[in-house]
Structure formats: C-alpha cells, structure tokens
C-alpha cells in the first residue's frame, strides 16, 4: 500500500519548462526527500503527484493505478503545507475531520481517528481551539494531524518546517521521523534544507533545473556524489573544488575534497597557506585558507583549535576521500 511511480513527467508553464522528464520509483513505506535549490521544480513535482497541477506529459501511478484523471481528494494522499493552510474558521477538531466528513465517513469513525491522531501529536487539549489561538508549532502539528487522520497511501510534505524557528524545527523533525516509524507510511517530503534531507530520508532525490541529478541514500550522496552539483549541494560547509591541473591530475577536470577531510598542521603538509578567516563554533572550527597550490580552501576541524587570521598553516587532504570529476562535471569512478 503506497508505492509511487513517475514516468517521464514534464511540466511547462507556457514556454517555460519546469520539469524536464522525471522518472522515479518510490517503494511502499519509504521516506523520500526531494531536495534542490529554489526554483528547481521540486514543489511543482509534488503538486503534480498530488493532482493540484496537471503534468504536461508523462504518467503518475499510485499503487500501480494511473491517476491522471483522478481528483486530488480521491488519490489517497494527504498533504502538509509550508504555510500550514488550516481552515481559519474551523476548530482544530473540525480541521482534522473535514476531509473525512467530505468523504462521507461515519461520525464515530471520524471521532476515533481524530482522537487517535491528537493523542499521537499531543494535541488533545487544543481540540476545541481555532488555528488563530495556536502557536506556530501547534499549527503545524494540527496540519500533520489533518494528514494522519485521512490514513493516506502517500504523505506529501511541502517544506513543512520552513516557517518554524530553529529549535521548533529540530523538535518537529524528530516528530516526523517518529511518525514515519510508527505509521510505516510512504512519505514524500520537499525541502531546500539539506540537513532535513540528510536526517530524515531513506532516499534523497536531488533536483536541479527540473531534472534529477542523483537518487540515493544520504550516505551514498555524501560519499559518492554523481556530479559536482550534488557534491556541492550535499554537505556543509560546501565541498572544496580545485582545478585538477593545478594539482597535476591530467585525467580529471575538477578535484573535490570536503572541508572535514583535510588535516591541518603548523609544521608540514602538502599545501602551504595562510588563514584568511576563522570561525570558532565550539564543536567545530572552520578555517578559510588562501593556499598557493589549491587556491581558496575551506577546512573544518573538529573541536576547538587556536588558529587565527594570518597564521601560516599546512593543509593535507585525505587522499582516499578525494572526488574526481571529468569535463562534464560527472564523477570519475575510483580506480
């Protein structure tokens, strides 16, 4: 219950092509995250799956059934929106129950499901309130509750945490992860935040300019990015890209090395450089180096270190963690 298959989905607004042939299979019970920069088409793709937008071409199958002509309410989906999108004139309870009521579910059945969902999300004390009387975090929980109550085949989340502050975001993220384990439901989640993607997903779909760049588990993407876009998008601070010629590698065009895979020493090392700026975060220290051999480098050291601006240091990359990319920005398989 709850698989999804997209076959060469395209979507154009006038002459502007937003989605350029998306093929994707989501297995039952998977937590899949669409991630990409703004304007890459990830929200549009979610809307096509929900049936809120019609695809220009291609097919969407939910549980093996073509849903092109099925209205959103009959697709067996539920959606959680960035702006919560609660009905302002209804109480929390009616907000959660409206979808079932429209579908003609018996009253006591609605009652049971709403009670169950509000218990899971600890919303029981707020059932009689209106959305205006709730805090942002509570509103988003109501929106999630509204989705749970429908017992959908597919949960769709459209940047659900973007409107919450940092502390609440972490808390709600944990809640969503817990829900996924509890409900064992298929979830599709759109975000531009790679941390959310890395922490929640079974499978990440990296989108750029309307096309899929790579699909894989979070660690796959981190360890084996397929191209420079994915390599640069996943991981923070961003991967260092160095012109391969400067390092004497003639087969590759670009060499990538993550900031955390560079060792630093005051005495000796491969690349001599000067510290331009140092950020001391407690758990990590992030240094920006101007090196002769490799240009500007970001280095991430764990723990506290006493480097400051204008210090002369030597950086040594972990050779086994180098990523090599060809002229087309594609990764070259490790030999």
């Amino acid at each position: 219950m709850g698989s999804l298959k997209l076959t060469s989905i395209t979507k154009a607004f006038g002459n502007h092509e937003v989605l350029k042939g998306i093929d994707l299979v989501v297995e039952d019970g998977e937590f899949v995250i669409f991630v990409g920069p703004s304007g890459c088409g990830k929200s549009t793709l979610l809307r096509v799956i929900a049936g809120l937008e019609d695809a220009t071409s291609g097919s969407v199958q939910i549980d093996g059934a073509e849903v092109a002509s099925v209205p959103p309410a009959k697709r067996g989906i539920a959606m959680v929106f960035q702006s919560y999108a609660l009905y302002p004139h209804l109480t929390v309870k009616d907000n959660m129950g409206l979808g079932l009521k429209q579908a003609g579910t018996p009253k006591d059945e609605i009652e049971t499901r709403v009670t169950e969902a509000s218990r899971m999300l600890s919303l029981a004390p707020y059932l009689a309130r209106r959305p205006a009387e709730l805090s942002g975090g509570q509103r988003q929980r109501v929106a999630i509750g509204r989705a749970i109550v429908r017992e959908p085949k597919l949960f769709l989340f459209d940047e659900p945490l973007s409107n919450l502050d940092a502390a609440l975001r972490v808390q709600t993220r944990l809640e969503i992860a817990r829900l996924h384990r509890q409900l064992k439901a298929t979830m599709i989640y759109v975000t531009h935040d790679q941390v959310e993607a890395m922490t929640l997903a079974d499978k990440i779909v990296v989108l750029n300019a309307g096309a899929i760049e790579q699909v894989g588990s979070p660690m796959d993407l981190y360890n084996k990015p397929a191209n420079t876009f994915v390599a640069g998008f996943i991981g923070s601070p961003q991967m260092n890209f160095i012109d391969a010629e400067r390092l004497g590698d003639r087969q590759a065009k670009t060499i990538g090395i993550r900031p955390e895979h560079i060792a630093l020493s005051r005495e000796s090392g491969d690349w001599k450089g000067k510290v331009v700026h140092a950020e001391h975060l407690g758990a990590d220290t992030i240094l920006y180096l101007e090196t002769e051999a490799a240009g500007l480098l970001t280095v991430r050291l764990f723990g506290e270190h006493r480097y400051g601006a204008d210090d002369i240091v030597f950086a040594t990359p972990d050779r086994s963690r180098l990523h090599r990319f060809d002229a087309g920005d594609k990764a070259i398989a490790a030999s």
Binding site: R47, A50, L52, P71, P72, A73, K74, I77, A78, M79, F81, Q82, S83, Y84, A85, L86, Y87, P88, H89, L98, G99, Q102, A103, A132, R146, D158
Partner: protein, 279 residues
Amino acid sequence: MAKARTSLIRSGLIHLALISYTLIALFPVFLTLVNSFKSRNAIFRDPMAVPTPSTFSLIGYETVLAQGDFFGYFQNSLIVTVFSIALVLLFGAMAAFALSEYRFRGNLLMGLYLALGIMIPIRLGTVAILQGMVAAGLVNTLTALVLVYTAQGLPLAIFILSEFMRNVSDDLKNAGRIDGLSEYAIFFRLVLPLVRPAMATVAVFTMIPIWNDLWFPLILAPGEETKTVTLGAQMFIGQFVTNWNAVLSALSLAILPVLVLYVIFSRQLIRGITSGAVK
C-alpha cells in the same frame, strides 16, 4: 523639550486640517438637518440659525408624511439598494475568484475588459439602456434599476476583490481541494470569509451612489409605484415654488437608512482588519 513642542505643533496642524475638513464635509448635512426643523420664514430669514422655540416647526415632516407615499419610496430605495449590493457582491466575487484563481486564455484581457467599466460612466449608455428596457418591458419596474445598478457596481467590485483574492493563500485552497471540497465550497467557505473586509469596502462604495442616484430612477422608473426617495423628494421642488421644508425633511429622512447600512458594513470592515492583525 524642543522636540516635544514641534511635535505638538505638528499634531496641532494635522488636527486643524482634519477638523476643518470634517466641518466642511458635515456642513451641508448640518444645514439640511437644522433647517428641516424650522418654519418656512425662519429658513429664509436666517438659514444658519439653530431652531429656537419660536422658529421650531415640524411642518416639513408633516408634509412629507402626508403627501405622497413616502414609506413606499423608502421601501423602493431599500429594495433596489439591497438587491443591487447583494448581486454586485455575489457576481463580483465570483468573477474576481475566476480571474484570480484560474489560468485560462484571455484571463488578462477579460480582467481589463471588466475594469474598463470603472473608466467609462454608465450614464453614457442611458439612451441604449432605456431602449433596451422598453424592449424588455422593464420600464417602471424596480428590476430595471437593480439590473442597471448591478452593472454599474460590478467593475469596481471585480477590480478590488480580485486584488484581494490574489492574496488568499494558494495552500489553503489546495488543502481544501485535497480534503475534497468542491470549487464552490472553496469559494464560499474558505475564500469569501477571508476577503470579508474587502467585501464591506465594496458594499459601501456600491451602496452610496445607488441610494443617492436620481438619474436612473427619473429615466427608467418615474412611476408613482417605483419612485425612490431621491426622486420622491423632487416632487417638492417646483419650477417656480419649492417647498423647502418638505425637501429638507425628506432628505434628512433619506440619510437615516443609509447611515444604518453604513454602520453595519463599517463594523464588518473594522472586525475584518483586527482579525487579520491579531492572527
């Protein structure tokens, strides 16, 4: 100290400007009300004076209530105004929803076409409207007035409401679609309550010109049965003699219902504004 004084001068000037504008705006109303309670001689002797026991007279009101069917005129005005507002709000909101919500060929052109009515006064078409009404057999009916006023009010209503409806969150409408609400339910139950302040604004802007209009009642419905208040008051204005007591009293009475309607809508307006702010 200096800062406190300059701000005092500034706020004093602002208040002066506002108060003088208020006086200018209220002066004709004041004059009408005051003189409606005076005898004919007193009106002409000293129009600015407040009624005193010696000049106080209700003769104007007595004439108005005795002559002609003034309650009927009031009823006609109310029927025409209320029905016109209702139709303007209903059709205006529906058209605005379609224009702001759905992408279709000619959307922009249709919006411009509907907005054109704001710029072209409907009275330019009076002759054609009259011919049409004669052909349709609607002369001397309130229906004719309601139809004309609805047409007159729609352009502004669509213009204002479509701007407001564009600001209603897409997510909310989409949430409704996923929950299985029909497009009508989304329109009536989600969108309309959210644009209520705009509806109140449109209602006020639509109502006042309709209530005060003399042109169309005079041309389309001058019969005794269908006279509106403004037209009814005209019967006291003669070519040679004008019964000022009666005219002023009729006009004073005509202010009342429109005042009540205005208070109702403006309360809506304020409630709408605060509910948005507290959210």
